[in-house]
């Protein structure tokens, strides 16, 4: 298989692998840093809506799978010499940002799964959390666009 053919064929796999790993990475950091180390998040704070419980369950299970599956796809791309680092990292940032934003707005605020921290001025934490998410998404998009431009030229 020629290099260009391999590139176009595995281009999508680069994106999928990066997105999965990004989602998984943020979920993993969320669990270790905010649940286990800082104890800011609560396992279950009893104000969670039913749909929040379901959403949380699916995202938790999916993120376990995403981390491991994303890395296996990464290994597969490497053995095929079809890895596009810029696109992959772009997708990682995009996936991270997307999950961070979903967690910050839908899961924390709408479904009330738990708050970032149980303090009076939690809205400051919410803003920092969600702005960080938007920055991650922006950085991811820039990297993805740049990788597309380098490939076209």
């Amino acid at each position: 298989m020629t290099e260009t053919a391999a590139r176009s064929k595995y281009g999508r796999r680069n994106i999928v692998s990066g997105l999965l790993f990004g989602i998984g990475l943020v979920a993993f950091l969320d669990e270790t840093v905010f649940h286990q180390l800082l104890h800011w998040h609560h396992f279950y704070d009893r104000s969670t809506t039913g749909v929040g419980l379901v959403s949380d369950g699916f995202f938790h299970a999916f993120s376990w799978f995403a981390t491991i599956g994303g890395l296996f796809l990464f290994a597969d791309l490497r053995r095929r010499e079809a890895l596009q680092p810029q696109a992959w990292w772009g997708a990682v940032l995009l996936g991270s940002g997307f999950f961070q934003l979903y967690d910050g707005i839908i899961q924390h605020k709408l479904m009330r799964i738990h708050q970032i921290r149980y303090v009076d001025n939690v809205h400051i934490y919410d803003w920092v959390w969600n702005i960080a998410a938007v920055l991650l998404i922006a950085a991811g998009c820039i990297l993805l666009l740049r990788s597309r431009r380098t490939r076209q030229s």
Partner: protein, 277 residues
């Protein structure tokens, strides 16, 4: 961790009282060992020691859940009950599936018996039972029924219910694991995408139930025990789930290795599956 039950120490059984109930488990270990030796002799190829070790550990995990001090505790303490269920319904099935008991059985039985076994495995009943969707519903659905209906309290009162629940927990755990990870001969295989989707859904069902039990304990379970038990269910489950996901991904990674041999890069591509540099 779970030594705070009030009457427990006075009722503790001496080690020798467990011996009769340990007998079936010892027999299972010996049976596997004998079959492994027989198969090694017959085929001139040693049955891997690693598989025997997995079987040994799997039987020990199952035994620890049904007999001995943990099983005693599990009658009174929800956290101990959850620990026993993790061993019986998740860890033991995983270890036993990995020890490939069916492959070993097919090797040592005579041709007639082996053929009869594979005919059963190929049949439509088994196909239905071992489908990932059926297996997941039996496994996770069974757990929801157990903890959200009165089965849990019935199980503490009636030996027969207790027995049925345990057998179901183990068998459904085994069928679920075997429907996801293919170690033994599997006549009805399903694709990786289907198994991934079903596995994520099943794991979600497990996690959701664990969190639900945190706030809504089964009848008769004190709040503190429910919280400890559900945390154990959630994080202990995660531990086993990681291994399941890893194995499923690994099987995909091996099956998807590039086999294309053409052009200049032949040697490098052909080595692709071993190369991790």
């Amino acid at each position: 961790m779970m030594n705070h039950s009030n009457h427990y120490s006075s009722e503790r059984m001496a080690a020798h009282e467990y011996l009769p109930s340990a007998l079936p488990f010892v027999l299972l270990i010996l049976l596997y060992a004998a079959a492994a030796i027989l198969s090694s002799r017959r085929y001139g190829r040693t049955w891997p020691l690693s598989r025997f070790t997995l079987w040994l550990l799997g039987i020990l995990a199952a035994a620890a859940a049904v007999i001995g001090p943990l099983a005693e505790q599990a009658h009174r303490n929800f956290e101990a009950h959850m620990a026993a269920h993790l061993l019986l319904g998740m860890l033991a099935p995983l270890l036993l599936v990995l020890s490939a008991p069916l492959t070993l059985a097919l090797r040592v039985f005579n041709t007639g018996t082996s053929r009869r076994i594979s005919r059963i495995l190929k049949g439509s009943y088994f196909r239905f039972l071992s489908h990932p969707v059926t297996a997941s519903i039996l496994n996770i659905g069974g757990l929801w029924l157990l903890y959200c209906t009165s089965i849990y309290s019935l199980m503490q009162d009636y030996l027969l219910v207790h027995l049925i629940v345990h057998v179901h927990i183990f068998l459904s755990g085994y069928v679920f694991t075997a429907s996801m990870i293919y170690i033994d001969p599997t006549p009805h295989r399903t694709g990786y995408i289907l198994r991934t989707v079903v596995m994520v859904t099943a794991l979600a069902g497990h996690g959701i139930l664990a969190k639900y039990l945190y706030a809504n304990p089964p009848a008769g379970v004190p709040a503190a025990q429910a919280e400890a038990g559900s945390l154990l269910m959630y994080y202990g489950g995660d531990g086993i789930h990681i291994i399941l996901i890893l194995l499923l991904c690994l099987q995909w990674y091996r099956s998807a290795r590039p086999r294309v041999v053409c052009g200049k890069k032949t040697s490098r591509i052909a080595l692709g599956d071993q190369e991790v540099v």
